[in-house]
């Protein structure tokens, strides 16, 4: 177990390093010069350009820049944004909470609803209802989340005027305390629905197929033969065995927590990482982009390892020593 864990962590570190390299190469090989953007088009003062280039170290050899970048990262310094001059790490932390709030709510809701529907259909396998639910899951799986978001805005915000279209809080109301929490919740309904609806099909299909699979196993037949009540067989034996794949998917979903909801965030102007990336891209804010990509890579890598370890702890049948 500990050997396996060590290997996974090594892979994780390697992955983060590769992400760092890709990050650096892409951003430095890209056409466009941030200094030009900063100085402006109207009066490109050569002295100012030279000074700024020196200040951000863009005149040094690439390898030196890379070394400096990694060195600073190890000290926990991600640099300052070229555009706003604020530390990148502070800017990212500000954006993480709203994203996590949105994505976590959606992931939990989707896991619960999807699994429940999957179990419901698995126990009615072959019926018309099961077939219909299967088709509906295909439909939602094929729906782009941004389009679903727009449709929700069209129906609930623009036509029915019951929910706000965008943002996280009502700027005009200036709510405090409980009223503010309610306000945020109201703003969350539409983006969370868009995310949840597109996530449900995964959980639905996985729960359904794994329950069907476990129900067909020999030991279930044996249990039935002993006369154990069907409810008990289900609760104690089928469910417990069949829920493992769902946990894995939930874990992977957790890993993509910060990245998965980006487009929906943009549709609803949610002040999270998604819209932040777009701003960083249009401003060609190199340090900020590198910081965002790094944070995302690290969070995905760490979560993947956590999921792997948790999973092997949960399911004793998986033995990594034999590999």
């Amino acid at each position: 177990m500990s050997r396996y864990l060590g290997r996974r962590i090594l892979t994780g570190i390697l992955c983060i390093f590769v992400a760092l390299c890709i990050n650096f190469v892409i951003i430095h090989a890209a056409p466009g010069n941030p200094i030009r953007l900063l100085v402006g088009k109207d009066n490109p003062n050569p002295q100012m350009i030279a000074e700024l280039t020196e200040k951000y170290g863009l005149d040094q050899p690439k390898i030196v820049q890379f070394g400096k970048y990694v060195g600073n990262l190890l000290k926990g310094d991600m640099g300052v944004s070229i555009y706003t001059n604020e530390p990148v790490s502070d800017m990212i932390i500000d954006r993480l909470a709203p994203t996590a709030m949105l994505a976590l709510t959606a992931a939990v809701l989707a896991a619960i609803i999807g699994t429940a529907l999957g179990i419901f259909c698995a126990r009615r396998v072959g019926t018309k209802l099961d077939a219909i639910m299967g088709s509906v899951s295909y439909l939602f799986d094929s729906t782009p989340s941004f389009w679903l978001g727009l449709m929700l805005i069209l129906i609930f915000a623009s036509t029915l005027h019951v929910l706000p279209t965008s943002g996280m809080i009502d700027m005009r109301a200036d709510n405090e305390g409980f009223a503010k929490v309610l306000d945020i919740m109201k703003h969350m309904i539409l983006p969370v629905s868009a995310l949840t609806l597109t996530l449900i099909p995964y959980y639905f299909r996985i729960a359904r197929s794994s329950i069907i699979q476990v129900m067909g196993e020999d030991f279930i037949t044996t249990l039935r033969a002993t006369g154990m009540p069907e409810k008990r067989i289900f609760r104690k034996y089928i469910f417990r065995n069949a829920i493992l794949p769902t946990i894995t998917v939930f874990g992977i979903q957790m890993a993509y927590l910060v990245t998965g909801s980006a487009i929906v965030e943009i549709v609803f102007s949610w002040p999270g990482m998604g819209s932040f990336v777009m701003t960083a891209i249009t401003r060609r804010d190199y340090p900020l982009l590198m910081g965002i990509y790094l944070v995302l890579s690290v969070s995905v890598a760490v979560m993947m390892i956590v999921v792997d370890v948790l999973y092997s702890a949960l399911d004793p049948r998986i033995s990594h020593e034999s590999k």
Binding site: T11, L14, L150, L154, S158
Partner: protein, 283 residues
């Protein structure tokens, strides 16, 4: 006859049957777009933001372009991007997976680690950043999607090659002195390719979704008509011109379902064991 056999398989599997019929419709729409499109999709007419009527079946956009014609031409973009990107991912995945699984040892160690690393990457963000910084030409979009989505194929092919290399016919080919390269390309890959074909079909759907997401974010090729772009432009007219977003989105859903159905159907037909694996989780 082989064709008859194929047709029989398609007829017997509902998902494949429906999927193939939808695919034919899509191909016809894309191929015949210049013939069947009622208007030129690039002409800016004076009829701006017109609701669906007899002249413009699906209405017009903010610049007076006919939505139906744009959707028909958009099918070309989606199919080209989907197929090219999925093919790139399929070829890279098959080769890397085949090498790793068949040769084993150090090669497998290196490729296996590459697979693990790519599994952990937030690919959509990578695609987003590359396209945003290097330009959003259609070629760039296709290549970047292809280069970042091969992992699933490589894993499948690796597993296939690992199990195939234990089989007698491979052992006998080795014993009569066939070169390992020849065995890989003549026996291992042809015999293990089926799950990759099914997965690549799903990959077409994934690539089409990714392309439309990029176009929706304004990072699509500005010179071609694509469904995501129609939605991006229509977003500002959501209240006064719902038809722009609605129909282009339905076109995306139709196309993606087509490839999901075919991919799923192929999975069931080709390898009943894989039935529960389904499709890879989107990143």
């Amino acid at each position: 006859m082989r064709l008859n056999k194929t047709l029989k398989i398609i007829k017997e599997n509902t998902q494949l049957k429906v999927g193939c019929m939808m695919l034919v419709i899509l191909f016809l729409a894309a191929l015949l777009a210049p013939v069947i499109a009622p208007h030129n999709p690039n002409i800016l007419s004076d009829d701006m933001v017109v609701a669906p009527n007899m002249k413009y079946w699906l209405g017009t956009d903010g610049l007076g372009r006919d939505i139906l014609s744009m959707i028909l031409y958009g099918a070309r973009t989606s199919l080209v991007v989907g197929f090219t990107a999925a093919m790139i991912a399929g070829i890279i995945g098959t080769l890397l997976g085949g090498f790793a699984g068949y040769f084993g040892g150090r090669i497998d160690g290196v490729i296996g680690e590459m697979i693990n690393i790519f599994m952990m990457m937030p690919t959509f963000f990578l695609i987003l950043i590359v396209v945003a910084l290097f330009g959003s030409g259609l070629f760039n979009v296709m290549v970047v999607i292809g280069l970042t989505t091969w992992v699933g194929n490589a894993k499948l092919m690796r597993a296939q090659a690992m199990s195939l290399r234990q089989r007698t016919f491979i052992k006998s080919a080795e014993s009569i002195g066939e070169s390992r390269m020849a065995i890989l390309f003549k026996h291992i890959i042809p015999n293990g390719i089926f799950p990759i074909i099914a997965n690549t079909t799903m990959g077409v759907a994934g690539a089409i979704l990714t392309e439309s997401s990029l176009a929706f974010l304004g990072l699509g090729d500005p010179n071609v008509i694509s469904w995501g772009q129609i939605i991006q432009n229509g977003k500002s007219y959501l209240v006064d011109g719902w038809w722009m977003c609605v129909f282009a989105g339905l076109a995306i859903i139709f196309t993606v379902i087509t490839f999901y159905l075919i991919g799923d159907g192929l999975n069931r037909v080709l390898s009943p064991k894989l039935r529960n694996l389904g499709k890879e989780v989107r990143g």
